[in-house]
Amino acid sequence: MPFVAPTPPLPVGPMPRQMTSPPTLQQPQWSTASAQHRENSVNLLRDRQLLRTHGSEPIETVAPPPLGHSFPAEANCNPDVMSCTMNAVPATAELLRRSRLPLGLAMHPFKDLRSLAIIQANVIVRCRDCRAYINPFVRFSSQQRWRCSLCFLDNDLPEEFLYDPISQTYGDPSRRPEIRNGTVEFIATQEYSVRPPPPATYILALDVSQVLSPDPAVAKSATAYLTAVSQTLLRCLDRLPGDTRTQLAVITFNGVLHLYKLDGPRPSLLAMPDLDGDSDLPMPEGLLVTVAECRDAIVELLESLPELEFPAVPGCCLGSALAIAHRLAQSSGGRLLLFLASRPSVGPGALSGPAGSDSDDLAGQPATDYYKRLALDCCSAQLSVDLFCVGPGHTDLASVMPIAVYSSGRVHRYPHLPDDADRLASDLGRHLTRKLGLEAVLRVRCSNGYSVAAFYGSCFVRATDLAALPCASPDAGFAIQLAVGDGAGTAGASEPVVFQAALLYTGRKGERRIRVHTLGLPVATRIEDVFAGSDQRAIIGLLAQIGAERIITGASRLSDSRDALVNAAADPLAAYARATGQRGAGGLWSPPGIRLLPLLILALLKWPAFRPSVGQLDERAAALAEVNFFVGAAPVI
């Protein structure tokens, strides 16, 4: 039986927007009679060809429907940047519960975009009550007043808003780029900065405990990783994002800490005798230096790093290295690139005790809260930690991982090193040259009646709808679970539900910017419309991040997570059968929007993060961190 593709939405031509036109919401394509709806359903027991065979992606991206003539054609942000699990948002909590589908947003707020409208204005226009930014879904009641699309309050419009910089015309506020685009970036004014922009700071912490190992294969892999790191850094040294004040520090550690004084003509090594994290720095300056001034010493150090003679003290003092790095970066924040080759065994944060077995239900959970507390300190200092696990053996990644996961960093793992050296070099190059979003905060605002229930992703959730990211990454994805409250849908079926995500960050040149993404969706009052608008890509992203987060924090065991994922696929299908009266119709009927959900859940259960037993504990930990970091953006089959 040929697969019936869902009908694409009708194209809306550009029409002049009148200020006084009554609000009309074009009815979405799926608000059809039940019989026609049943025609679009897919029988999962009989149809085997569910993936698209044409086009570049096996799963189509479901764009939200155009909302009618009163809104511009590009009112919604790109679906790859922010998308909702349902393209017709349920009007009541009861409707959401009946559908058994999760309601949430999957977003990728700092993604590299090909074109972006950047606005520099004296006054950034925001609602005076809910503080939402002006967006394409607002209504202008006159030349001087606008009505917020989230809280429906009337606000004043400043004079300069009537001038459109692009077409150099005056008089029509709906021509401004903030009203025409779903994604805009504002150059922030003075009141958005807490302190003057700090210099971009990069700290490299390298674990050299395996270099002097008696096993030649292990020593070779350690030298290979040092070579890859130093060559990549040499290559990217001039392309590090930041202005002329960019700073760099290098720390290496095995059983003791080695610091490098870089402000002379030649670098010199200082071994710290004391492993206690509270001791003073051996010298106040010279460790964290400006790249532009001390370039020669830095280049010489990096070139000699793979052959350097480190003091032969066995062990790995990760906790002390992190404490020193935190002390160095305390006033400026920045990024710490941490390379871990063996299990931390001496000093604060040492992990002792036998490694757990992989088929244990508690695998993937940390054994100590030391690194989570350190992550809290790093977030306060605006320091983001990226963890590269380069050891061939067991490094207890599950316990060390929180330092990266909670400070908006990413975890990588390279178990087979001389072969993986190219992958390490390219990942590190991406990390060093990607765009920078320091001291970032991400806030999500929703229309009246809808609220943020939970925030998932690699961040510090400072309030229910506010996440703090010491350094925002263009590859990071977040999933937000939404709740429907009492005030939802009171504005009527003609008003769209608007979700707005605003990311405030400090860019590479030290300027403060705000990237705003807005998404407007129609309201669904019938269960058929809820099912017709469901988007499996966003749903699987949300479910994967929820599952990974429950395991990492220890809130549920692996087997419970697996059961919950299976139920998440089975419940909507049962609810659909109940809602459309197709029980016992001799097949497993599914709305076209979630026809691939069982297949995607099955694929997710085979991912190392959720598999019942994986070869090494570290592999599961790295997979969980990866799911937590960016699957909110796009699922990987």
């Binding site: 992550a375 809290l376 929180p402 939970a454 229910t464």
Partner: protein, 140 residues
């Protein structure tokens, strides 16, 4: 003798009552953003074990002096408090984790539990008070 023990329990339940009010105020400050997450969690975590210890001491004292009814009334809550402390995942920073507290309505649920504890300690306080008065009157 039993009057002395019951006065101690009375003092204990009064202290727990004040503690419950303090915890409730801290949680509501956190909810309204008057406190930052780190400071609020430090304050809340500091009182978890002392509260469980004092709440467990009350039924133990009552058991030792053979007041069965009062023991049964005051025993379930400390059992649950101690169970909660012992089954924490090792990777979590105390019962109130700054990274988890703002997710999934944790604050609201903690506030409901605090209110329940408040009512429970208040009830216990009045029951103990009347028991003391009864023993004083009956002893004469």
């Amino acid at each position: 003798m039993s009057i002395l023990v019951m006065s101690l329990c009375l003092a204990g339940s009064l202290a727990l009552l004040f503690l419950a009010v303090y915890l409730l105020m801290t949680l509501s400050d956190l909810d309204c953003d008057y406190l930052n997450v780190r400071e609020a969690c430090d304050r809340l975590n500091k009182w978890v074990w002392p509260e469980a210890a004092v709440a467990a001491a009350v039924p133990i004292l009552l058991l030792l002096t053979l007041h069965w009814v009062l023991f049964l009334l005051s025993a379930p809550l400390p059992c649950y408090l101690i169970y909660r402390c012992l089954t924490l995942p090792k990777g979590q920073i105390g019962l109130f984790d700054p990274f988890e507290i703002n997710n999934r309505n944790y604050i609201k649920r903690a506030m409901y539990f605090c209110t329940f504890k408040l009512v429970h300690y208040l009830l216990l306080f009045f029951v103990l008070l009347y028991s003391i008065i009864y023993y004083l009157v009956a002893g004469e």
